[in-house]
Symmetry: C2
Subunit: 362 residues, 2 copies
Amino acid sequence: MIRNEPGNVPIFEGVSVSTQAIEAVPLRPSPVDLVETFDRILAQRESIEAVLRDAFDKGAKRVYLVGSGGSYLANFNAAYLLEKHLADVTVHHITSGEFLAREPLGVNADAIVIAGSHTGGTKETVASVEFAKKRGATVLAYCSNADTALGAASPNFWSYDSKTTTGDAKQLFTAVFAYAVLKTAGADLDFEAIERNYAKLGPAIKQIHEKVDAEYGELAKKYHTENVTYVVGSGPGQAAAYNLSMCYLMEMQWMNSGFFNAAEFFHGAVEIVEDDVPVFVFLGEDSTRPLAERVRDFAVQRSSKVVTFDSKDFELEGFDEEYRYLAAPHILFTLTGRLAAQYAILNNHDLSTRRYMGKVAY
Amino acid sequence: MIRNEPGNVPIFEGVSVSTQAIEAVPLRPSPVDLVETFDRILAQRESIEAVLRDAFDKGAKRVYLVGSGGSYLANFNAAYLLEKHLADVTVHHITSGEFLAREPLGVNADAIVIAGSHTGGTKETVASVEFAKKRGATVLAYCSNADTALGAASPNFWSYDSKTTTGDAKQLFTAVFAYAVLKTAGADLDFEAIERNYAKLGPAIKQIHEKVDAEYGELAKKYHTENVTYVVGSGPGQAAAYNLSMCYLMEMQWMNSGFFNAAEFFHGAVEIVEDDVPVFVFLGEDSTRPLAERVRDFAVQRSSKVVTFDSKDFELEGFDEEYRYLAAPHILFTLTGRLAAQYAILNNHDLSTRRYMGKVAY
C-alpha cells in the first residue's frame, strides 16, 4: 500500500520517481465548457420525452436505471425522484454487471431501460442494452459521444459531447431522464418551474467552483495523508459520497476508503469512529437530509476529523427557494471533483493515473 | 484508531487492560439450537403464504423488503430471488431509514411491506411498519420474539424465538418470505422440491460449522491485524460480504474495512489492489457467480492476500445437486460468523463489545 506521507512522492508503476518529482501535478481546472454542456443536455429534453411518451402510451410499468461506477452512482438522484413521485411506475437502480447477471424477468415489453456510460464502451453496459433490446424493452442510452459502441447499440441515444464536463454532465443527464419520465408518466409536478430552475444550474455550479477552489486546498492539506477515509451520504447525496470514496479516493488517489449509507452507518460502521477517524458527510436538501444530519451530529462528538459538505452553504443565483432541492445533488457531486483536484496536487498523483484501468485486461 | 498488533491487547473504553489480559475471549460456539430454529422457521411457511395469498388476491403489485444493518443485508437473497422469478410483481430492497425518509409513493394498498429486525426494537423499522400501515399496505414482519415493539406494531407477525441463532435465522426467514411470495404470486418453480431441500439446510450448516471451526483459526491468525480489509460479493453473496465488512469487522472488531459489489469493484476500488492488500471474495452458486470470479481472478494476480469463500467447497448432505443454489447464500453468510468468532479470540475482543450501541443515545 502506498502511503502518501507529506513531502513524499508516491512511486507509480511505470513512472520514474524523478519525473514525478520534477513535474508537479497542476490543479485540474473547472471544466471550461460546463455551462454550454449543461445547456446542450437540457436542450435534448423534448426528444427524450417523445420516446418515453411512446413507451408509456404502450403501457410501460417499470424503469431500470443501468450503469457502472460513475454511471451507476449518477442514478441515485434519478431513482430517488422516481420513487418519490410515482406510484404505479416502479424504478430499479442497478449496476450493469448485476443487471446482466440477474436477467430480471421484469425486463420485457413493459420495461424502460435507461443506460449510461462516459466512454460509451463499458462492456457490461453495452451488453445490458443488447439484452434489454432482445427482451423487447424500450431502450434509451446516453454517453459522451455518439460514435461509440453504446451509441451504435442503442435505438434511442443522446450525448453530452464534452471531454471535460463528464461526471457533472452525467448527473444532469440522469436528472433530465428522471424528469422526462415523471412528466410523461403523469407525475403531479410543476415542470415549467423545474425547467426554469434547471436552466440556472450551470452558472451556479461555476460560481461554486470558484468559491471552493479558493478554499479546498486547506481541506485537502489536512486529509490527503489519512490512513482511511469514511464517506457517508443519504438519498441523492449517496452519489457524491460513493463518488468521492470509490472513484476519487480509491481509483484516482489510491487511498483507502469506505462508503456508507447514512442510515446504515448506525448499524455497524459507527463503532469504528473515534477521535482520529475522518468521517466525511454529505448533506443535501431532500427528505433524507435528517439521516445524514444524524451521522454528523454523532460524529462531531466523537471525532475531530468530521467534514461536512452541505449544499445549503451555497447561494444559488436565479433559483426559486422552493426549487433549491433540484440543485443540491449536483452541488454535492461537483464538490467532490474540486476536492479531488486538490488532493491530486498534494499527493502529486494526477487524477488520470491508473494502475490497471486501460493498462491490463480484466 | 486501535491497532490490533499481534500480542497486543486492545484497550476498550471502560474496560481495564488487566481484566482484558486475564480473561481471554473464548470461541463463540456454533448456535446449539440452529437446527431446531431452522425447523421452527420453516414450519411457519403456510401462515405466511396465507397472508400473501390474500394480498395478491387483492391485486398486490410491489414488494418492499425493509430492514436496517443485518436485517437490511438479510434481504439481498430475497431480492435476487424475486427479481429473477417474477415479472409483474416488483421488488424494492431498501434500508428502513431510507424507506421512511423517502416515503415512496408506491407504498399503498397495492404494496406488500416485509420488515425484519433481530431485537424487534429498531426504531426506523418499527416506524416503517407504522408508515406502511397508514398507507394501506399489507404489512408482514418478523423478529426474534413476539414480545417486542415490532411484534406489537405488525398486523402479521412471525418470530424465530432464538437468542443464539440470529443472523442465520434472519437469512432463512427472508428466504421463506421470498418463496412464499413466489408461490402465492404464481412463479413457475417446483415448490415441493424447494421445500424438501430447505429441510436439509439446518444439519448441513451445522456440519459446515464443525469443518470451518477446525480451520478458520489459521485464517484469522493471518488477517486479524490488517490495516484495512476489502470484502466483495455479488447477488445474494453480497449479504455475506456486507455482513463481514460492516457488522463483524467494523462493528464487532473495530477494524477498518470497505464493502463492494463485485461488478462495481472494477469501476474504481480495483486500483487500490496491490501485493499486501487483503481482498476477501464470496462466491455463490447463482447467476452472479461470474462477477465474483472475475474479482478473484484479477486479485490473485495482484495480491498475495486474496481469500475466497466458496459455497462449492462444501458438501450438502441430502441436497439435490440442482437445488444447491438454495443453500449457497446461507453457507456464505454462516462462514462470516465462524471467521469472526476466531478474530474475536485473536483480537481479544468479544463480538458483543461495543463503543456506542446500547451505551449512548444517537
